[in-house]
């Protein structure tokens, strides 16, 4: 089975995978002058951009019952979650072609490539989440936010009232969410890496698709907003929306993920990983010929 094969290979080539991850992270954080700093600033920059576009240009409001600093944290967590996903997909797309020199000329276990990309992206995500954690610590405990709910406020369908930021036992569910997240993204990564090797146009196509997908995920707007307007199916069918929501609940507000959502996520993530790796391994023995 493809998953067992992947597992054995990753175990066997663990030093090699670590080599790639190490090099990758060092390249990002040691190579540039403000390396570590960028992984925090980049999401902040996109946060500022999208806040400007949504709030000022499109005149949309996140919520009447959440203070702005809390919304910033909610959005930031969504951005880093999406960033991890997009990074895995984008980098996986070209990785086989980029490492063609290795695949064509030495016996190279190419299945480690999407894996190392996923691990590297995961580290980034963890850094982003740690930053979010600091935010929760500050806004939830050091200087708690006041409840801004106006008197007589009626929630829209699916909208939640004010909740204060807090650490809860639900943080224990984060590793599971991370695992499902990486399985899901990496599975798609294996699929897209193989596709792009077979048909190079996939690269162009996928970057457009990723952008569309991003706007179809409630990162810069609350989920309730799409539900209100009858586009609830966009969220219901989008595993990234489930993930973003689950992360937000677990990390910011101390909510455990709903078992049904977890089950759906697990199903989709494992199916993706299974199909992606299967397709990858099916074509792998001919990668050197295709390059």
């Amino acid at each position: 089975m493809s998953l067992a094969r992947l597992y054995r290979s990753l175990r066997r080539h663990a030093p090699l995978v670590w080599n790639f991850v190490d090099k990758d992270l060092k390249g990002r954080y040691v190579g540039s002058t403000a390396g570590f700093f960028w992984s925090l600033v980049n999401p902040l920059l996109s946060l500022a951009t999208y806040t400007f576009v949504f709030n000022f240009v499109l005149q949309s409001r996140w919520s009447d019952v959440q203070p702005a600093s809390q919304v910033v944290l909610v959005m930031y967590l969504g951005i880093v979650t999406w960033g991890c996903h997009a990074e895995i997909l984008t980098r996986s797309t070209g990785t086989l072609v980029e490492n063609g020199n290795l695949i064509r000329k030495v016996v190279f276990p190419s299945e480690i490539l999407p894996a190392f990309i996923s691990l590297s992206a995961l580290v980034n995500l963890l850094i982003g989440m740690a930053f979010v954690g600091l935010g929760v610590l500050f806004l939830g405990y050091i200087s708690p936010l006041a409840d801004p709910t106006p008197p007589g406020w009626v929630p829209a369908p699916g909208e939640r009232g004010f909740e204060s930021l807090r650490f809860g036992l639900s943080l224990c569910s984060v590793p599971l969410l991370l695992a499902l997240h990486v399985c899901f993204s990496a599975g798609l990564g294996y699929l897209i890496a193989t596709l792009n090797l077979l048909v190079r146009d996939v690269g162009h196509f996928s970057s457009a698709l990723i952008t569309i997908w991003m706007f179809g995920t409630p990162i810069f707007y609350p989920e309730s907003m799409v539900r209100e307007r009858g586009y609830g199916w966009v969220v219901d069918l989008n595993p990234m929306a489930w993930l973003v929501d689950a992360y937000r609940g677990a990390i910011l507000f101390g909510h455990w993920p709903e078992p049904l959502v977890l089950a759906k996520l697990a199903l989709v993530a494992l199916a993706c990983l299974l199909l992606g790796t299967r397709f990858f391994f099916k074509a792998q023995h001919r990668f050197a010929d295709f390059l």
Partner: protein
């Protein structure tokens, strides 16, 4: 460690380092990129086949040094990729016993953005070494490569010589059971090449298997006792170096003649000038059996013959020939007048014709490509003027299978060696 690539179940345990059975590789050439996808998904057959390797049976015993030769495109590299397991065979199977390290092409297996150090780690990891094993060898690899500070720079900044140094250092230091080397060693300076040869000899003495691939018979012969000759994806012949060298030479001659005469069949792209009173109508090189050739062996006789015809009167035409190496180095020039017993042709009139022939007893040049330039000049004037000057009138190749001497030319020489000691006195002598 034993690995097996390809279809079929593991046969009985073999004692050979590499065993290949009915090995073929077919590359599929797709008309459109999308056909690749259909092929993988639906096994559709919209492609043309190209068989790079066909029905190869090969058994390389442990501890042997085997050379694989053949022209470019003979399937050597494709065969190596099959043996190393980089590509999978279309038919047949390969059994390999032991760890293979290969030095396939310049910079193969290096990540251009990684530094030398990082690439060493990467390569060791690719070869399946644990971090401890890598750490143990790391300094030896760095020392062997003699790259100095460059070891800390990305390999994309390396010169081709540096690539080879790093590649060889890794491949030779990881203690492979089987070492495969593909031409790469021809790059790099004399000093490093010497080091490589020493290291290779050590590896061979340790009883490791070495497979050496080249299109240069001389290089293979100096390294290997057993040689495999490939042509168009098939093994044409295998045997001792002497046996195969003979076949190789005959084929090279035939092929070289064909190729080089093709080059000159069309209108020459090289300059030709002169007043044209006398014209050289035919120019050829003859081997020892007096048949036209473009291929001469070092140390063998050859001659250059030309036919001429006078169109107008000319006072004192002198025929000369210049010999150049393909890079333009002027090696030799002579004519029939500047000799101890010169030939004075004197006045020629329209209708006169004849031949000129230059005989050379032994070809002094070593292996390589050379060309001739014709100088037909009128020496009756104060300074000779061109009648028919033709650059690159003929290209030829010199083949040296014995490789008895190195460098540009063969110097006929005799060696003597004397030894005096308590056990007695001996004088040894070597001809040629």
């Amino acid at each position: 460690m034993s690995t097996q690539h390809g279809a079929g179940s593991a046969g009985r345990e073999r004692s050979s380092a590499i065993y290949a059975e009915d090995l073929s590789k077919c590359y599929r050439i797709y008309r459109k990129p999308i056909h690749r996808l259909w092929d993988v998904l639906l096994n559709s057959r919209s492609y043309e086949e190209f068989w790079a390797v066909r029905n190869v049976y090969l058994e390389i015993p442990h501890g042997s040094t085997v050379g694989i030769i053949g022209e470019n495109g003979a399937g050597k590299s494709s065969l190596l990729k099959l043996l190393t397991g980089i590509t999978t065979p279309t038919t047949g199977r390969v059994e390999v016993q032991g760890r293979i390290a290969s030095l396939l092409e310049l910079g193969a297996g290096f990540h251009p953005e990684f530094t030398g150090r990082e690439n060493i780690r990467l390569n060791c990891a690719i070869l399946g070494m644990t971090p401890e094993e890598t750490a143990e060898r790391f300094q030896r690899i760095v020392d062997f490569s003699e790259l100095g500070d460059f070891i800390n720079r990305p390999v994309k900044t390396y010169s081709s010589g540096m690539y080879v140094r790093l590649g060889f250092s890794v491949a030779a230091t990881v203690d492979p059971d089987i070492l495969i080397i593909d031409e790469a060693l021809s790059v790099g300076d004399e000093h490093f090449r010497g080091k490589c040869t020493n290291r290779l000899n050590e590896i061979r003495e340790q009883g490791k298997t070495v497979v050496f691939v080249s299109h240069d018979m001389g290089a293979v012969k100096s390294m290997c006792k057993w040689v495999v000759l490939m042509d168009q994806g098939r093994i044409l012949e295998q045997g001792t170096a002497e046996q195969v060298a003979d076949t190789y030479l005959k084929r090279a001659k035939a092929r070289g003649n064909e190729r080089l005469s093709m080059v000159h069949r069309g209108k020459s792209e090289y300059p030709r000038w002169g007043s044209g009173e006398v014209e050289v109508t035919h120019f050829e090189m003859l081997d020892e059996h007096r048949s036209p050739t473009h291929m001469v062996q070092t140390g063998r006789p050859y001659s250059i013959r030309m036919m001429w015809k006078a169109h107008r009167e000319c006072a004192n035409p002198v025929f000369g020939v210049g010999l150049y190496r393909t890079d333009g180095t002027y090696l030799n020039g002579s004519n029939h007048q500047w000799r101890q017993q010169p030939i004075e042709l004197q006045r020629v009139v329209p209708g006169d014709e004849g031949e000129v022939e230059i005989f050379v007893e032994r070809m002094p040049l070593n292996h390589g490509q050379y060309y001739l330039t014709l100088f037909l000049y009128d020496h009756s004037k104060a300074s000779p003027t061109a009648i028919d000057h033709r650059e690159h009138v003929l290209t030829f190749e010199v083949l040296d299978v014995d490789r008895a001497q190195h460098g540009l030319i063969q110097v006929p020489s005799r060696w003597t060696l004397a030894r005096r000691g308590p056990s007695g006195t001996s004088e040894l002598e070597s001809q040629r």
